[in-house]
């Protein structure tokens, strides 16, 4: 089955969440495929003849869409994200990012990464932290220009007043905003986020969700989000891929039938609840199956 070449006829019918076990349907109202993953498998070196960590994964992520990966711990969500970022090569299969290999795409700064830990350098101010990766990755960009761009992005994420603060003077949420600004300063087409709000409290998490929606509306970037929160996945995504473990694979993909722009009102939409229940069922199923497998 080739997900990428499937006709768009299967796109979401308005009104109900659509589920397609083990295959992927592109979400509506976004561009052509930005990320294509075909039948890849990944195993880490060092684990001799070990089973692949993820296997038979095919995905097509449209330009300008927000896609979430959700699934039990250890099912390979981070691994898949790292593969898209060009950090781990697949042992089988093909992937391309905007038509080129992931590693090349990373070198051209097509992808920006955000992790659970903000990973700010404690000796640099918020501004210098946000400018840091751009400066490292492109020596032609002057320090002044990098800082200017970093400053704009810090303002975009709501840290306009904290440019000169050190990470130790920022709250956890502010640190994570700074790390998002750092990714945006690379001006990537794709934002890859691995449990970016995992270390934050519930209220801050929700605020950060609105920040992501806001950034998406302003920039139209393709966003791939790994999360453990069903709420977050439904609120933010065009499409949610539920993964299962042993081996890590996509068990089903669900298109979220909610219109954009989304905001706190979206929770009140009955379809939100419907999608949430559907997702929860699939997630519990996949948990059960991977427990049997082990």
């Amino acid at each position: 089955m080739n997900a990428a070449s499937e006709p768009a006829a299967n796109r979401a019918l308005p009104g109900s969440p659509i589920e397609n076990a083990a295959s992927v349907r592109p979400a509506g109202k976004t561009g052509p495929a930005m990320i294509t993953v075909q039948d890849i498998a990944i195993s880490y070196p060092g684990i001799k003849n070990g089973p692949a960590v993820i296997q038979d994964i095919s995905l097509s992520i449209r330009d300008g869409s927000i896609v979430s990966l959700i699934g039990p711990s250890g099912c390979g969500k981070s691994t898949l994200l790292k593969a898209i970022a060009g950090l781990v090569p697949p042992s089988r299969g093909r992937m391309d990012i905007a038509g080129i290999a992931p590693q090349e795409a990373a070198q051209r700064r097509l992808v920006g990464l955000v992790f659970q830990e903000a990973n700010l350098l404690p000796w640099k101010t918020a501004l210098d932290n946000a400018a840091f990766l751009l400066q490292v990755s492109d020596k032609r960009v002057s320090a002044k220009e990098a800082r200017e761009r970093a400053g704009e992005n810090l303002k975009l994420v709501g840290l306009g007043d904290a440019l000169t603060k050190l990470p130790s003077q920022l709250s956890g949420g502010m640190r994570q905003r700074a790390s998002i600004a750092r990714a945006l300063t690379l001006n990537p087409q794709i934002l890859l986020m691995d449990e970016p709000f995992g270390a934050l409290d519930a209220i801050t998490r929700e605020e950060m969700s609105y920040l992501i929606l806001d950034i998406w509306e302003r920039t139209g970037k393709t966003i791939v989000l790994v999360t453990h929160s069903i709420d977050e996945a439904v609120l933010l995504s065009h499409e949610v891929h539920v993964m299962g473990a042993k081996p890590g694979r996509i068990v089903c993909s669900i298109t979220v039938p909610l219109a954009f722009p989304r905001n706190s009102q979206s929770f009140a939409d009955p379809r939100f609840r419907e999608t949430e229940i559907l997702l929860r069922d699939r997630l519990i199923e996949s948990h059960g199956r991977s427990r049997q497998a082990s």
């Binding site: 950090l87 990373a106 700064r109 000796w123 490292v136």
Partner: protein
Amino acid sequence: MTDKSNKGSDLFVALTGMLPGLVLFLVVLVLWELIIQVFNVSIFVLPAPSNIAVSLMANAAALATATLITAKEVLVGFAFAAVVGIALALLIVRFRLFGRALYPLIVLFQTVPKVALAPIFILWFGYDLAPKIVLIMVIAFFPITLDMLVGLQSVEQSFVSLMKSVGAKENDIMLRVRIPHAMPHLMAGMKVAITFSVIGAIVGEFAGASAGLGYMIQFASTQLDTALVFAALVVVSLVGVVFYYAIEILERILIPWAPKFDAVNRA
């Protein structure tokens, strides 16, 4: 609050922080003095604090000269230890294969009792500064290497991923992330190393010297001048303390961003 008053209150906090230690110190001195007087202990066996004070005053000039010599040994030896210690850590991290080969040898060397090497260094390098510097170096480089290694290697793996994802080379990561990240660890290692350096200088002088505080201690004990032995010991300790706090001040200036470690209040 203005900057000035802030500094003032900092100083106040620092001084009141030292108060308990000072009180305890005075209590010990008074008890010591009393015990010597009450039991009539011979000055050759254990001098009273007052005897030590008198000896300090009487030998002030000689002690000052000796202090300069020993302090110079400590400083130069420590500088060599720092350079060697840091260089080893950088090499081990930057060239992994070399590091895997070298590190076990360093650990092995660490188990050799360095004090036993002192006479050999005298034999090889003579009676002057050189053997002391070499001895201090071999005693003091290890904590620096070890702490520097911890600092260089403990950079968050996801941060390294972040750097690699934008095509940064290992040299970039080393220079711009690992080395600055290692600075607080390095400072901790240097604090251990400076106290080792003082010990190294004294041991080096015991093994063969014609000047310095260690030499004075040895000479005074052959003369049964126990008060002078203690007076010299007091000065040696002061030298160590001064160097230790010099590094702490350096730490505050060089890495103001690092979290301050309070050895007592955090426990």
